[in-house]
């Protein structure tokens, strides 16, 4: 019996779906306008315990059938559809069979007396922000459904956490330890002496990332980063101070910058002088300090940083005091910081926050090149920088003065409102928050990267203009009775495209999720917002209305990240205008609005 328990199948999941779809482009009349297809996807989960100290999990997906008629055409199962290659004779070969079986997820843990070793393949992991990684080298990797959507095998790597004689040591290594990482090795060693913790962190990229699946996570150039930091803690105060050296391999690289031309001539009458400059060693240096204090109802967070041009950190995902949305970027080329106060008045928290950041070298606006045939002189153009072709770029570190007011009502602070699993744990009859932010952005930014239809990565030749943006987000959780839970969300605000389209969105939406025993009803509405994929944000593709609803019941209440046996109905409906993917002009009807509709049924079985 003991031998049997060393390896076993822990779960088998069967997911059977049907989809009935139609659009305004469909031909025919009546039911002839509808298309029907189905999806069959199966999972086998296995566990192995070769010894008491080692545990491994493996989940394999078996693809039965991938539908061709879905209105959201990119899904995990899409990989098994329309996969065609060309053989040596030049004939097309159906390769879909190669994608019928795929490792969906894998993980292992080895508990040694000196370390815990975790291996992960498409399995989320946490960051080291609370352990001394002040500059966020090791990023949290928790991407929800996105790795499935984009068929990305992320994260993938191993993480070692020292204990005993190796207490304080952490190492991570792998092909893509967070989405968009190059193959890399990251190490952190932290040691506490009294109230002071000293930490040193290093990241050494090994080679460029060869796989890019989404413009949300485009790998940047191979680099090297080292940081030292200290944290001093008393009863009411924590003070962190750190220094960073990053991007030393870019020293000596040239870059273009511009300075405003006062009176007199300018480069190609652009109003600026253009300069060729060079990355120096000082541009690799950065520093950050963070101070937190709490006294009774009063909480204070002050965060400031100076980052040289190529002194890029990672992502700081730490959550301190409350759920502020305005957070300093860890990218290089900036000076700035944030300051926030969280005042707790009984069950109500009032938390204003200010963010100020300014790049040391600003973004480049496009200047068209010019050829003077009469003199034989050529004046090169100027294009916005990007993170692959230039030593640095102004992106989320663009000049910003941000103001935020966060109001939260939480009568049961034991279930912290900002915890990742709060939706399930919140036990208050009513808890909610309202977050209002306004970003003043007096300058533009450099160029992001996008994909063409054939998967080619490219840099936009421009960026949306300088523009202030605002956003309001509200959420509420209601527990009117023990077996009923309501989750409400709403948002609204202005937003700019990730690509170069200058159109400013005024978008809004909301969702209602009802949980009653094992029943779940989710409804979401988006107005004038982007579609579901990265390309929609890249190319500023929006839909006037997006409405979806899903009603399901099963053997148990649905839980975040867990699949259970459920039977359900779903639908998606959206309208299309001239800014939507799939819309096309009708002669004589320039304001014509198209539509797409999908009706689904599903049964998901899980042991």
């Amino acid at each position: 019996m003991a031998e049997l328990s060393r390896a076993y199948v822990s779960n088998v999941r069967v997911e059977m779906d049907t989809f009935t779809t139609t659009t305004d482009r469909a031909a025919g009349e009546g039911r002839a306008r509808f298309a029907f297809d189905h999806q069959a996807s199966f999972y086998v989960d296995a566990e192995a315990h070769p010894s008491d100290d080692v545990r491994a999990e493996l989940s394999v997906n078996l693809l039965g059938h991938a539908p061709t008629n879905r209105i959201d055409r990119i899904t995990y199962e899409t990989r098994g559809r329309d996969l065609v290659g060309v053989d040596a004779a030049g004939d097309q070969v159906d390769l879909a069979a190669l994608e019928r079986v795929r490792v969906y997820r894998a993980a292992f843990t080895w508990e040694h007396e000196l370390f815990t070793l975790n291996g992960y393949y498409r399995e989320p992991h946490f960051h080291w922000g609370y352990e001394g990684d002040l500059f966020g080298f090791y990023r949290e990797a928790n991407y929800g459904p996105n790795p499935d959507t984009y068929n990305a095998d992320v994260p993938i790597g191993v993480e070692l956490t020292g204990k005993g004689g190796l207490e304080g040591l952490r190492l991570a290594f792998g092909p893509e330890v967070y989405w968009g990482a190059n193959p890399t090795l990251i190490g952190l060693y932290a040691h506490k002496v009294g109230r002071t913790r000293l930490a040193i962190a290093h990241q050494e990229d090994i080679a460029p990332q060869s796989v890019v699946k989404s413009s949300f996570a485009v790998p940047e150039r191979v680099t090297r980063k080292t940081a030292i930091s200290t944290e001093w803690t008393s009863k009411a105060v924590t003070w962190e101070l750190g220094g960073l050296m990053a991007g030393t391999e870019r020293v000596g690289e040239s870059f273009t910058r511009v300075v405003e031309a006062a009176d007199g001539p300018s480069y190609l009458d652009s109003g600026v002088h253009v300069l060729d400059d060079t990355i120096a060693m000082v541009d690799t240096l950065g520093a950050r300090t963070r101070f937190t204090a709490q006294q009774g109802r009063f909480h204070l967070l002050v965060d400031g940083a100076y980052k040289g041009l190529v002194s890029d950190g990672g992502v700081d995902a730490t959550q301190i005091f409350t759920g502020w949305s305005l957070r300093p970027s860890q990218r290089g080329n900036q000076v700035g910081g944030s300051a926030g106060v969280a005042l707790s008045l009984g069950t109500l928290q009032i938390a204003p926050n200010v963010l100020i950041q300014k790049p040391l070298v600003g973004p480049l606006s496009p200047i068209a090149d010019r050829w003077d045939a009469s003199t034989g002189w050529y004046y090169a153009g100027v294009t916005p920088r990007n993170v692959l072709d230039d030593p640095f770029a102004v992106l989320e570190n663009r000049e910003t003065t941000g103001l935020e007011l966060l109001l939260a009502y939480d009568p049961t602070p034991g279930s912290w409102m900002w915890a990742w699993d709060n939706e399930e744990r919140e036990d208050a009859a009513f808890a909610g928050s309202l977050d209002i932010s306004y970003r003043m952005q007096p300058t533009s930014r450099d160029s992001n990267l996008g994909f063409l239809a054939d998967g080619t990565l490219f840099s936009y030749d421009a960026a949306p203009p300088a523009q202030d943006v605002w956003e309001v987000q509200a959420k509420a959780i209601l527990n009117p009775r023990g077996d009923l839970k309501l989750l409400l969300g709403a948002y609204g605000g202005t937003a700019q495209a990730r690509g170069s389209d200058p159109r400013l969105l005024l978008r809004s939406g909301g969702d209602v999720r009802v949980r009653y025993r094992s029943l779940a009803w989710d409804t979401a509405l988006k107005l004038n917002d982007w579609g579901p994929y990265d390309l929609h944000q890249d190319f500023n593709l929006t839909y006037p209305v997006q409405l979806s609803t899903d009603l399901s019941g099963g053997l148990a209440a649905p839980r975040r990240g867990k699949t259970s046996t459920r039977l359900g109905l779903s639908s998606k409906y959206r309208t299309l205008d001239e800014h939507s993917e799939g819309w096309f002009a009708r002669p004589g009807a320039p304001d014509f609005r198209g539509y797409e509709l999908e009706l689904g049924t599903y049964i998901h079985l899980s042991l």
Partner: protein, 179 residues
């Protein structure tokens, strides 16, 4: 001096920034950089130290430069070809090379390679961009690039096998693949 050393470490290696004022290209000459330069899908022109447009060239500027002569035209069109692989860019890259060869606008030892690149550029039009067109300056009228490439190949004694140049009933020249 001791205080100066750390400063030198940090900033001493940096070159002072220089103002960009344009580049005098009156003395530009054709110097082949690689055996495939200007022939799709080669992109070595982007790393050619002699290419003044290696940082990219604007959509209108390339035509202005092409009109100034074949040497400048070659670098402009070969650069545009890497950013936008089209038959139009490949055709004008090859025709610039043909003129460099015929007008002897390169060092004698480089002329034969210029001819070879022109031949392979024209052939690339037939092989890779058979159906592409080129437009007049107004962008209104277009005509296929393949017949021009075929004529160029024939003028240089290049290999036209696999293709034939035909004249249709309405007098248009077309290139068709032959068995």
């Amino acid at each position: 001096m001791k205080k100066l050393l750390p400063c030198l470490f940090l900033v001493g290696c940096a070159q002072p920034a220089t103002y960009v004022v344009g580049e005098d290209l009156t003395q530009l000459v054709f110097v082949p950089y690689s055996p495939d330069e200007g022939v799709y899908p080669d992109v070595s022109v982007l790393t050619d130290p002699n290419n003044p447009f290696a940082g990219g060239i604007g959509p209108q500027t390339k035509w202005d430069v092409l009109a100034s002569g074949p040497v400048h035209g070659f670098y402009a069109m070969a650069t545009a070809l890497t950013a936008e692989p089209t038959g139009e860019h490949q055709l004008y890259t090859a025709s610039s090379l043909q003129r460099i060869y015929e007008d002897e606008l390169a060092a004698p030892e480089d002329l034969w390679l210029a001819r070879d690149l022109a031949v392979r550029g024209y052939r690339s039009v037939l092989d890779n961009f058979t159906a592409d067109v080129t437009f007049d300056a107004s962008g209104t009228f277009s005509w296929p690039v393949a017949p021009l490439a075929f004529e160029g190949l024939r003028a240089l004694g290049g290999d036209t096998s696999g293709f034939a140049l035909l004249t249709t009933d309405d007098g248009q020249q077309v290139v068709v693949a032959t068995p």
